[in-house]
């Protein structure tokens, strides 16, 4: 049975347009133009137990709105959601004990108290028995290397340290489903790496079903075998990362370093050249022509180094997002 099942899910927000300036504000007091913004449009997908799936999409694509519906913060306008057999919008306590949501931009810990205090409070809220609590805590503290931070006030922690603590606070009740909204946002590369490693390890150890959103391709590349790409509230792709590039990208990139500058002149004007100077060139070449082109280049030009590379996933995603003209989103 699927752990998460979403069918035809739609969320519409009613918002009001306000004219700019003070006059606009005064006008707005008496008459406002309402308009409806479909943040999520007829989305369907399902997740099996233990899957770690990434949600990709630009700002305002509807990722967070979706996570909020899955966790019962928002109720859907249309459509169906079921997580672990529960309807999240009913906010059943039994469901709430079995999932967690962590938002990278939001702080749930008590600011002036050490994280250990926030953890203890969560233990009471979730009704975790002290033994289970302690072993879960010990395990995560060692995985995340947090031992020295447990008794430092949260306000004195770095962003990366705080994020680790947020994760611990959310996982103390050992949820079966975990929603992560931008867990690595604003973190330095090393902290990102640590958080990613932890999520991966935790998913492997506990078989927790994880749905994560991120701006950082690396998060998704490293963690998720399956991605859901969402744009303007619609799921435009559901599958593996590799297939994604196969489907949307029909070319590879050839990078060349010349042995002598005159080679550059030969290439100028040639089809597919995207970058060119006296020492380097970058070419975009159709996949089936790669072998032939490489052969020709090597034969004709004084080349010091040549490499053939896949288009980066970033680029793939950008392509998908550029397919539809961008409009105002929520």
């Amino acid at each position: 049975m699927a752990v998460i099942e979403v069918k035809n899910l739609t969320k519409t927000f009613k918002t009001h347009r306000k004219e700019p300036g003070l006059l606009g504000s005064i006008k707005g007091l008496f008459w406002r133009e309402a308009f409806y913004n479909e943040a999520v449009k007829a989305v369907s997908f399902s997740l099996e137990e233990g899957e770690l799936v990434g949600f990709l999409g630009p700002n305002g694509a509807g990722k967070t709105t979706l996570l909020k519906m899955l966790s019962g913060i928002l109720t859907p306008t249309f459509g169906e959601v079921r997580v672990l057999g529960f309807i999240p919008g009913e906010r059943d306590r039994a469901y709430q004990r079995q999932f967690a949501i962590v938002m990278g931009q939001k702080n749930q810990l008590w600011w002036d108290l050490p994280p250990a205090e926030s953890f203890a409070l969560n233990r009471d809220i979730y009704g975790v028995d002290p033994k289970t609590f302690q072993s879960a805590l010990d395990e995560m503290v060692s995985l995340l290397d947090l031992k020295d931070l447990l008794n430092v006030p949260v306000r004195q922690l770095s962003l990366g340290q705080r994020m680790k603590c947020e994760l611990v606070a959310a996982l103390l009740h050992q949820p079966k489903v975990l929603f992560l909204d931008e867990p690595t946002i604003g973190l330095d590369v090393i902290s990102q790496e640590k958080i990613r490693g932890f999520i991966q390890e935790y998913n492997r150890l506990k078989r927790t079903t994880v749905l994560l959103t991120s701006h950082y391709m690396k998060d998704v590349e490293q963690l998720c075998r399956r991605v859901l790409v969402i744009n303007h509230g619609r799921i435009v792709y559901d599958g593996s990362l590799e297939d994604l590039s196969h489907r949307y990208i029909d070319h590879k990139v050839i990078k060349i370093r010349f042995a002598s500058p005159q080679a550059a002149a030969v290439l100028s004007g040639m089809e597919g050249v995207v970058e060119l100077d006296a020492h380097h060139a970058v070419l975009k070449v159709k996949k089936k022509e790669v072998a032939q082109t490489t052969h020709r280049l090597l034969g004709r030009l004084p080349i010091e180094d040549l490499s053939v590379e896949e288009v980066e996933v970033d680029e793939v995603i950008r392509r998908i997002f550029e397919e539809q003209p961008s409009k105002e989103g929520g």
């Binding site: 927000f13 967070t64 909020k68 966790s71 019962g72 913060i73 928002l74 109720t75 919008g89 906010r91 306590r93 039994a94 709430q96 004990r97 999932f99 967690a100 949501i101 938002m103 931009q105 939001k106 702080n107 749930q108 008590w110 002036d112 108290l113 205090e117 203890a120 409070l121 009471d124 809220i125 979730y126 009704g127 909204d181 929520g330």
Partner: protein, 273 residues
């Protein structure tokens, strides 16, 4: 029936223990800001003092107000302070901060945790200090008035406490209803200033109101019941009608308040991140 009672008792025990956890956390938190604490207490005592002076001047000119003599009024005014302090110790502060919780998205966490969002909001910031001076001074005034009233009976104290709790429920229900609007306005300060001034009127005896005014301060803004009912009991002025009215208003307002609150939660649109 028995099952319901059992379930109710279990819920009660759970929320009492949750309250204790939250209270401990808040006390630890408040101790970090000791200077604030002292200033708050001194200010509270000062304003309660102003209140007493105000009534002392009034009573220099009149024998009774709405049938209440000076010492009975002191019990009344003191009861307002006690109610306010207990409110801060249980639920009031959460409402003041609701707008900010919604703006920052922290309210979202209250909707995903396995406890009632209104209890979570109430307990998140229980404040001992916010109204402590008012509470202590209130208690002192109640004691002072009580000691000077020959008709006052010790046996009325338990009943006084029961009606004090009833008053807190009325106050709470009123806050729930008013604050349900915060989900649309995303600002709680102004609304709660309104609540503050309404509850302030609780220090006048209910008997001073007539006709429409009386109905307004009973059913729309139930402030005329909040202090008058418990104080009337302690000062031997109570009648069955007043007690039943207070209990009834509490029951109706609380059901209504919870209904409005829960309806608002269903239509909550969350801050965009």
């Amino acid at each position: 029936m028995k099952r319901w009672v059992n379930k109710g008792a279990r819920t009660m025990v759970r929320y009492l223990s949750l309250y204790r956890s939250f209270l401990t956390h808040n006390l630890k938190n408040e101790m970090i800001y000791r200077a604030n604490f002292a200033i708050a207490v001194v200010m509270d005592i000062f304003f309660m003092g102003v209140n007493v002076v105000f009534f002392a001047i009034l009573y220099a000119n009149v024998e009774t107000i709405g049938g209440w003599n000076f010492h009975q009024t002191m019990v009344l005014v003191g009861s307002v302070g006690v109610v306010r302090e207990i409110a801060y110790l249980t639920f009031r502060q959460g409402f003041l901060e609701l707008g900010e919780y919604i703006r920052t998205g922290r309210f979202d966490a209250m909707l995903t945790a396995p406890m009632a969002p209104n209890a979570h909001l109430a307990f998140r910031h229980v404040s001992l200090t916010e109204s402590l001076g008012e509470g202590l001074m209130g208690l002192a005034l109640v004691g002072y008035g009580f000691a000077h009233l020959p008709e006052a009976a010790w046996s009325s104290i338990p009943f006084y406490l029961v009606m004090l709790i009833n008053s807190l429920l009325i106050y709470y229900a009123f806050c729930l209803m008013i604050n349900s609007a915060v989900f649309w306005l995303v600002k709680s300060q102004e609304l709660n200033t309104v609540v503050y001034y309404f509850i302030d009127t609780a220090r006048y005896p209910r008997e001073i109101y007539r006709g429409m005014g009386k109905a307004f301060f009973t059913f729309i803004v139930p402030s005329s019941l909040i202090a008058t009912t418990p104080a009337a009991i302690l000062t031997g002025r109570a009648n069955g009608e007043l007690v039943i009215l207070s209990l009834g208003v509490a029951a109706v307002l609380l059901s209504l308040g919870l209904a409005v609150w829960n309806w608002s939660l269903q239509h909550y649109s969350s801050a965009s991140s």
